[in-house]
Symmetry: C2
Subunit: 221 residues, 2 copies
Amino acid sequence: MTARTPSDSVRDIPEATVARLPVYLRALTTLVDLGTTTCSSEELAAAAGVNSAKLRKDLSYLGSYGTRGVGYDVDYLRYQIAREIGVTQDWPVVIVGIGNLGHALANYSGFRSRGFRVVALLDADPQRKDEVVAGVQVRPFDDLERIVKEHGVAIGVIATPAVAAQDVADRMVASGIRSILNFAPTVLSVPAGVDVRKVDLSIELQILAYHEQRKGQETAS
Amino acid sequence: MTARTPSDSVRDIPEATVARLPVYLRALTTLVDLGTTTCSSEELAAAAGVNSAKLRKDLSYLGSYGTRGVGYDVDYLRYQIAREIGVTQDWPVVIVGIGNLGHALANYSGFRSRGFRVVALLDADPQRKDEVVAGVQVRPFDDLERIVKEHGVAIGVIATPAVAAQDVADRMVASGIRSILNFAPTVLSVPAGVDVRKVDLSIELQILAYHEQRKGQETAS
DNA sequence: CTCGGTTTGTTCTCCCGTTCACAAACTCCT
DNA sequence: AGGAGTTTGTGAACGGGAGAACAAACCGAG
């Protein structure tokens, strides 16, 4: 991963905790919408689907934002988590590959509501140039570099077929993008300092199939 | 989780390993397409993006399918992993919620090629009843029970808005579905014995944003 | 002010997963 | 046949995360 200098005194939050913070954030937002002003770790844990001890330990990495004997102020805690994750600021994002999945991503409201702004949709197919998806015009892939520079894009989403993914990733890295969310079913190789997260739709199904298969064997024994 | 009886002598594969088997399967399929007949753990690990020691340990849970001094027979190993996961058999699947994401999932070729067959697309909106997506006609949600029974469906995919997800899950469970892949941004509560896996598009982006934010702080310090 | 009830923050222990390192086993060349 | 070179499978050390359990801190009643 990235090297840390000794002077880097930023609190070190465990990776497992980082992965759960967005879940807590969503649960808190739901509670705010319900009009709740205060909640205990037990309640919040139930809403987030985790153990309450785990939740408390996770939150303790951010600081002491609760009150003993009372619980957490929902709105205050929500802001603190949002700030820690970084979704209080605006994150410009480009999506490459406007197939079925690209369409779905461009229209996904969960992005905009969490500080992610889709500034461009790119596709290699010139035929799609005139299309407008979710209020954003599809542009040729070659515009990538210009758009990244112009909007200060740091995060790129790859929703292309597998064969094109590595090329797209290379171009993204060359343009200055340092974080990539990859939906293509390929292992991407990127230089150190660039983060890649992978979402694979069929892998999740295969994991379910494995367990399902075992369930069947169990009842048969 | 599910209770295990003492007589249940099925090899116990660690969860972390199960999650990686589909990755190996895909890497092996790529190698087969390239005409490779044999590969070392080092090569396969590189193709799958993991450590070679981890790969060997993972494979050792399935049995001894390699040859020391030589490596693994690509085609043979591929079949063994596929059999272990259960993708050599046919898995009928229903998708509920034919919005943008449902469309993308229905059209995703990665499902069919791995033993998953979409037998039905369901949507609560009666207006969509006549639509045909990926060669499958959209049907009303109330047909769920009948279709599950008729095709012996064990796996359901939820691609609805968040508010509808819990209801859909309840109906799925009532119909006999025991494995659910949830794309809706909600925590589902299901009875014991039912597996739920969650894919959340915006959570992955938020994790990237967190790391991206820290990168910025680092260069500034 | 004191005491009982409640809830957080944290320590401690246990377990799972990762990685190293090496013996066992196989091939090929001489 | 024997030895050098490879590569697998696994034992053992190591690190991180999960959960239980408890002390510290807060509120409210009397």
